[in-house]
């Protein structure tokens, strides 16, 4: 089975054709012009990963807390991660890098704060 994707690593945006086995395993890629493209193609077609960023409310702060996953996580988990955030409570104060949800959904990545909120 063949998939056509556009590389996102640089503005060239090579259109690559990725061949996968029936079981969905990576077989080969063509159309890339650098090895980063090949690596991206393989990852994206077998197990696409994303860094997820979001805001969540913090009681006592008008400004919500901005957070991110500390590493890219499987793309299909994004909706579930947002649901986890919906059930997460954070309290002031918060420092950049504070872990808000450790090892979210067993991905190995934490959800960490990306802005500082002080308890005025």
């Amino acid at each position: 089975m063949d998939k056509v994707i556009t590389c996102i690593n640089c503005p060239v945006g090579c259109r690559m054709t990725v061949t996968l086995s029936d079981a969905g395993a990576f077989v080969s890629v063509s159309g890339n012009t650098c090895p980063r493209g090949a690596k991206y193609a393989e990852q994206e077609c077998t197990r696409p990963l994303r860094v997820v960023t979001a805001v969540l409310p913090v009681p006592g702060s008008e400004t919500p807390l901005s957070v991110k996953t500390s590493a890219p996580v499987p793309k299909e988990l994004i909706p579930e991660i947002m649901r986890v955030l919906g059930k997460t409570s954070v309290s002031l104060p918060v420092a950049v890098g504070d872990v808000v949800v450790p090892n979210v959904l067993q991905t190995g990545a934490d959800i960490v704060a990306t802005r500082e909120l002080s308890s005025r």
């Binding site: 590389c7 994303r50 901005s66 990306t114």
Partner: protein, 423 residues
Amino acid sequence: MTDQHVDLLIIGAGPAGLAAAIAAREAGIESILVLEREKEPGGILRQCIHNGFGLHRFSEELTGPEYAKRDVDRVRELDIPVRCGTTVLSVSPDRVVTCVSPEFGFSRLSAGAVVLAMGCRERPRGALCTPGSRPAGIYSAGTAQRFVNLEGWMPGRRVVILGSGDIGLIMARRMTLQGAKVLACVEIMPYSSGLNRNIVQCLQDYGIPLYLSHTVTDIHGRERLSGVTVSRVDENRKPVPGSEICFDCDTLLLSCGLIPENELSQGAGVELSPLTSGPVVSETLETSVPGIFACGNVLHVHDLVDHVSSESFRAGRAAAAFVRASSPPAPVFTVKDGPGVRGTVPQKISARPSEDVSLMFRPADVYRNAAAVVECGGQEVLRKKAMIYTPGEMAVLTMKKEVFESLPDKVITVRMEGEKQHG
């Protein structure tokens, strides 16, 4: 009223102002004051909570607030005063600045040098003359971003986005992640000016359709938006009758261009370029008014904050040199846009630049396997080949400072060489 003199006054504590302040302090200037109208420094980065910042400068992918924190922390470390909640009202050609804040009252400050770092603003609906009703629910993408990311409020539930520049794409994802339904992203051009990465990660990831060569041709809803009509456009960007699609939505986000915010610059008598809507500057980032420098989005709209920082470090160093009264000689070279090139900055260069000169511009179209060429007096000075040049990404050509000693003419031209994708 407080009257005060500072050696260096910087207007704006976003990434541009902060970098200029850091560079000036590191160059030895003690008396610096940064004025910022928001309650906290960081500029627009405060509301850009997505990642992708700092890859070039820090070799890390940071979110906007994290990138800003690096510079805010450094400014604190260097003990550079930043006055927040302060709005500058005027800048005079002889570098007298008036400003106002609830805390400090009205101040008139005279400055040895001024750095303009006010950033840019978004085009409103009026710039597009989109017909229809004028209900609540129509926002610029940046205003919606502020509501969601800084104030904790959702502007709507069912969203259409007009404009596929990066801000529109980012907000498509943001609204979706935070629980709204984004129905479509509509783009009048036949291509998106946003990064491929954002097309994939903001639209494709969420199944949001991108309508190229389309625009919003009618708006419905008396009090609150109830829907928009979208039409296909022809090669002259005129709506094609009969091609209308209707979307039921309560929110329309406009991402239709950014304009440098130069009202203060105009008041100071600074010459503006109609191509960039920003000041005309030399390679030191000095404007046409001696001692007034400009950097960041107020000079020209950037895509990468890393470039804003390097440009602003340059401006800070130059402003510092000016304060120490070792002002650069008058510029002798003029830089012109040749075919395929738009808005090259700087527009002027001095006879003997003290540093290598970075020419920054946007190609007027998409070019593949093409070259950007710098010419002077009929001779080729510099050629930079690349697999792609695209209007969505500012190009940078660096001319070594030694080159300027032997240029044959006073006019330097930058042009594109190669096949345009869209004719």
